[in-house]
Symmetry: C2
Subunit: 207 residues, 2 copies
């Protein structure tokens, strides 16, 4: 694995992108993992969902060949589903020998690109019903792999997905080094009981 | 609490900043939390430790009054300890009636600003010994509050610190809304046993 891309677009959710980015770049820094880059339809500052500006250093035409593409979500993903330029870029990066990873509602961009046909996938709990109605075989886990298509639940779940991706593609020892350097041993505190609501995915109810 | 600042500087670790940012901006979006902004010595794109560019929309002279300042870390924090301009900005935001939060080696910038005198604090596991040698009362937890000074372990620990900060200042119901919207119910998978090493903080050994 040589190069990993992170897709940015106006309104992308910050942690959807930067969570997996941190894990992947730790992989690069400490265990020979792939080079990582941010790509958007146009180069320059992309304004995220919560106001953070992130620099896209590559556009679709200048982006070098990728071994894997991370497609983050945010409410804006539902706009980007209709952006044929962006959807086409995702489609071109979802073929054989490539890995495509979605975080949160990024899965709907994969859907628009035709990459979820006959696939099991997941998304943010708010839109699991919508994903199911679109004909996708929804898996109520924090993340799921189906062949070369990897998807996760909302926002923070992309961190777990990337760590799993690293473990599956580079081995548990490498995942250990990444987890340790990022000090990713999260607190187990759960506030309130919103995660136990009737429409919540199965994995939350097992906490 | 009206306004929360996030300090950026060249070489800042990406997730140190964006992890707490996501939690705080979810607080803003869903539960009336403070406005959030990124501040640096100079406005414009700040290049982070792993190559991501982040926009600083305010500099020290134009930054509006803050109720709390988040000081992220990264190896570059040890350079910034000698940057009297930046250290002075942190000192001015660490006084009475304000909250100062450090992530990872950001605690060394608080140290340089004189904000850790007679305080309990923590940092990334790699530099806990160094913090102890500097005379700080090190607490081997994932995060710790001592009065208006809040500090966390490395990189990803800033997410837990910010969620705790929200719970303490706005209540558990608000923290529940933030955690739920960010779908922050992390996987409990731990790869390998690096976290059980002899110099690891006590909290890791309890996992």
């Amino acid at each position: 694995m040589k190069r990993l891309g992170f897709l940015a677009y106006t309104g992308v959710e910050e942690l959807d992108l930067v969570g997996p980015w941190e894990m992947a770049t730790m992989w690069n820094a400490y265990a020979g993992g792939p080079e990582c880059l941010v790509v958007a339809q146009e180069r320059g500052t992309v304004r995220c969902a919560k106001g953070l500006g992130i620099a896209a250093d590559h556009d679709f035409s200048t982006c070098p060949s990728l071994d894997a593409l991370v497609v983050p979500g945010g409410f804006a993903a539902f706009n980007e589903m209709r952006n044929e330029n962006l959807v086409g870029f995702v489609r071109n990066n979802g073929g054989e020998g490539k890995n495509i990873l979605s975080v949160c509602s990024g899965s709907f961009i994969l859907l628009a690109a035709g990459l979820l046909e006959n696939r099991r996938a997941t998304s943010h709990w708010k839109v699991l019903g919508r994903l199911r109605e679109a004909g996708v075989s929804v898996v109520e886990e924090r993340f799921v792999r189906d062949g070369n298509v990897w998807s996760s639940g909302g926002v923070s779940a992309g961190v777990d997905l990337m760590l799993h991706f690293i473990a599956e593609t580079a081995g548990a020892e490498v995942a250990c080094a990444v987890q340790h350097n990022a000090e990713y041993y999260p607190s187990r505190t759960v506030y309130g009981s919103a995660h136990l609501g009737p429409d919540m995915p199965a994995y939350m109810k097992r906490i």
